[in-house]
Symmetry: C2
Amino acid sequence: MTGEFTSLPDVEPSRLVIERTQNPKKPPPPSGLVFGHTFTDHMLTIPWNASSGWGAPKIQPYGPLSLEPSATVFHYAQALFEGLKAYRDQNGKVTLFRPDMNMKRMNSSAKRIALPTFNGDHVIELIQELIRLDKHWIPAQPGYSLYIRPTLIGSQPALGIAPPNEALLFVICSPVGPYYPQGFKPVALYGTTEYTRASAGGIGAYKLGANYAPGVVAQKEAAKLGYVQNLWLHGPQHHITEVGTMNAFAVFKRSDGATELVTPPLDGIILPGVTRDSVLALARDHASGKAKVPELPENLVVSERSMTMKEVKDAAANGSLLEFFGTGTAAVISPVDRIGYLGEDVHIPTGPDGMGPVSRPIWKQLVGIQMGSVAHPWSVVVTE
Amino acid sequence: MTGEFTSLPDVEPSRLVIERTQNPKKPPPPSGLVFGHTFTDHMLTIPWNASSGWGAPKIQPYGPLSLEPSATVFHYAQALFEGLKAYRDQNGKVTLFRPDMNMKRMNSSAKRIALPTFNGDHVIELIQELIRLDKHWIPAQPGYSLYIRPTLIGSQPALGIAPPNEALLFVICSPVGPYYPQGFKPVALYGTTEYTRASAGGIGAYKLGANYAPGVVAQKEAAKLGYVQNLWLHGPQHHITEVGTMNAFAVFKRSDGATELVTPPLDGIILPGVTRDSVLALARDHASGKAKVPELPENLVVSERSMTMKEVKDAAANGSLLEFFGTGTAAVISPVDRIGYLGEDVHIPTGPDGMGPVSRPIWKQLVGIQMGSVAHPWSVVVTE
């Protein structure tokens, strides 16, 4: 993972400058936290320009950015981001979950819109330094964590549409509560056919700002119809692609007795989610016998293949649909109990705890890894 | 044209506050201007928030914007813009060209990503006020103008993906030179099949930032292959959609002797360009006999219909392709002499002046209207 502009300086942790806040804030009571509204005392910024490469990283007091009104991010959406969490595990350690995956995807996103790439390991080191400084912001209560938001924007003050010659990478941190404070609550989705999230040759496989603003109206319209989120259906056959801003999974009982876990393949219109990848990896290792996940069905088949809304609807009707869920960093797993589709509701079974036979054990395993009760190389220690 | 949040205050010119710069800059010599790199002394800002609507407009010294690092524009591309020009016409008047069209489109763009709409006539009034203050920045030389960039961004400091509850409309102005300082220079295009600009259910019909960052790599790759811009081809039949960031036009000689001017229809993936609309309107009025355009062919047919790259290639081969050009605010008309397509070059005729039988008279008429030699209601006087 090295920058594209190899002759220019890459991100260099040894150049880090730390300016501590003179006015540390008191972290608010965790119970009142709203996702992404509260930020810690410090932020990390790393400037880049085309002639001198990546500049000295700086950890400084959290505060406003000053940008020329002509900065390209305001005009041409030269913006991309990542989302990952720092957990205070049950042993008191602070850990990150697979941060290398976020850095890999961030570089892939940067390349797609001609923003500079960078050494991901070095940025992880700097993020760890930032977390260590603000680690008292991670609530100790179970289910709470510190949401880390690395962001990269084009900041050149000029209106020409071109690769920017100035950019800014910054990282901010927000303490967040559990997605389901009262236990799992399955959500109702609206099958969106009026809008598309992504298409071949587009940007759906990258975590670019440009994928998000256009989805807000689809979400708004779903909410107006009484659904919590929208389900992105693609093409004339209404292929299932994503659930709002999460990856989509379905579980079918096959006629041969196998339990099939299905998610759409990474064909260019699907975001390569870190949780998606983790669910697939755990399920595959279980299926192959390499590493069993407790309580997960024995005869499990893991498929990255396309599925249509018709397949899901028919399976729901004949009883072979076992569950449907979304995956993402915020919720980990988000079970679905209903999909509004072309004027009718497709009902999806959920267990008394809101989950299903595959999502329940996978969720337990994932959260166990994140919280330190299950040892796994995916969990990276920030501080003991 | 009134805002969507009708119970809240709309943009109100009578609330305008003007803070003049204490350090006026000296406009640089026009000959050295690079598009979008130089800005005038002042800018217009109008804040909005969901609880109190549009706030007091302010004309203030041009300078940096201060935004929280959590502002939605940095993360989710809640950004849209317009581009229009103020001309110093041959009578010394300062005029705008069809600003109502820009405001209409800006509101349409805002709606598409759940940003607030506004009274477009009122924003035009405020833009005129800004231009009057900085009118000495409009170079007097023919072909020069003041490029006006209205922009609207989501500025709520929160990471939830939702309609923002804070936004900022701002307008900056940049003196610009002629697109073709040495007369028309036809450009070579690369027919892009690797990337798509837009698709059904997407955002191609809106002037959103999110349409631009993803196009930079396509342009970069075209340049690497020796082409000036890329031609966006869509779908398995390679339908012609747009030329870089311009609308696309072709002219065919039909077997019945008519001259056919063709541009793709506004089917959801085409930006409704102001120059596109003006070219069509002038050509239609000429064809119907309502208002003749000097030198434009008599037997003219104007078609908004889809066309494939195969049609253009075949017409070039059999001599029935008369010309191909892009239209946009920056260049007005940009003639094309070559299209790289699947490994070979399609050659397109151009006249000795670089233009063709339809683009030449239309361009003269449009520039005549913009520069005041042809009286037309499209030209709006800012100051005598």
